[in-house]
Symmetry: C2
Subunit: 239 residues, 2 copies
């Protein structure tokens, strides 16, 4: 039997290749760490479509395991869980996987769109030059607004994020992690959104007294401080 190949992960990066800021890639990074699976990450920019053409689509995370190319963070999580079944479980037993799917979808379809209106205008400041035009034109088309118009509505957007966070807040006021006493993929999926905001924008999403804040700190410390390894985004000069 051959030794297992080294896993490789295409991971979104900014101009500084250490600035890894994709909420979806962070889900996968934390999932790999949870399972204790070593990974070699490859800094990838939005316009590096050719590098992941084998997946037939243009987004990361993309995981390469020997001959297999796997894309979509949820698909990767299920692949890791089912393939590396002798490592710590991402979902726990019974209904854990089914319930985690809802939290995964809530993060992607409710939380991240709300956070996007706060952080996206700050993303050009961290991007590689080759991504600037692509990012602005694709995101302004998606929002139907210029980044300048979005930035002018930031206070209301932040109020909306804090409203959207209500069920996360009351849950984490009652237990240390979404999965209970220890984190699992439900925590990875939701925390990815906070790590995105932290690494891409100097705006503080949470009031320091928010019951969500200590959970964010615990997730930054988890897995040997993996997520804390990227510094928070700096305020722009003069701001």
């Amino acid at each position: 039997m051959n030794s297992p190949s080294t896993l490789r992960l295409f991971d979104l990066a900014g101009a500084d290749e250490q600035r890894r800021f994709s909420p979806y890639c962070w889900r996968t990074r934390l999932a790999l760490a949870h399972k204790g699976l070593p990974v070699q990450t490859v800094a990838w920019r939005f316009t590096d479509k050719q590098a992941i053409a084998a997946t037939g689509q243009g987004k990361v995370p993309v995981l390469v395991d020997g001959e297999r190319w796997i894309h979509d963070s949820w698909t990767i999580a299920e692949y890791l869980e089912d393939t590396y079944s002798d490592t710590p479980s991402l979902f726990g037993p019974g209904c854990g996987r089914a319930l985690a799917r809802f939290l995964n979808q809530w993060a992607a379809e409710t939380l991240q769109p709300a956070i996007a209106r706060v952080v996206v205008p700050d993303i050009p400041a961290i991007l590689h030059d080759k991504d600037q035009a692509y990012f602005r034109s694709s995101r302004e088309a998606a929002f139907g607004q210029s980044f300048e118009a979005l930035a002018a509505q930031r206070a209301q957007a932040l109020d909306n994020v804090r409203r959207v966070l209500a069920p996360l807040r009351s849950t984490l006021a009652a237990q240390p992690y979404l999965a209970g006493a220890q984190p699992n993929y439900a925590d990875h999926a939701v925390f990815g959104a906070f790590q995105w905001a932290r690494t891409a924008s100097p705006v503080a999403l949470l009031d320091p007294a928010d019951p969500i804040a200590p959970w964010v700190e615990r997730m930054l410390d988890a897995y040997g401080g993996l997520a804390r390894g990227v510094a928070p985004a700096a305020a722009a000069a003069g701001s």
Copy 2:
């Protein structure tokens, strides 16, 4: 050993005492059915505060088990799970209870407030006379708007509900129940909101092609068709 006392549940009712319409009471009704625990329900109206004064608060569901009076739907669910541990589990093993708490909170803090703006103006049509003044004054104060003003914004409120439902929709497009192959308390907590809308308002929350609709039907059929036992709210005469 004495035989167990019959459980009693104070259950919100309309003018017709068979019209049980509280989303929180439905959570408890379905949880009791899931565990196969017989219950005697007591029709309760909003102004019957004296009947549940033993709990030190004024809301239902209230479960009475022998000498114990238990209120708050989540507290009741945990009580049933821990007390009747030899009956089918409400939460499943491992992280099931912790993850269900998030879905419980999402239903209460995100979904139901959105649905309220659609259905609350219809509730006076089903209420007992003695509840009318209390219900209108307490709810209009909470919304900061008259029922007539709310009703005039119903189309936008319905659009908002359908947006809020995005993570439920994508989850239920991928699996038959929130808990996976079979329903559990995560399904009870979220379905309570749909049963509330169905029993209190003639407005259809879902487009018939919505992937959530077949799950609602399955939940109406579950536990011997318990939830289907209440007829949908009828359209007001002339509407």
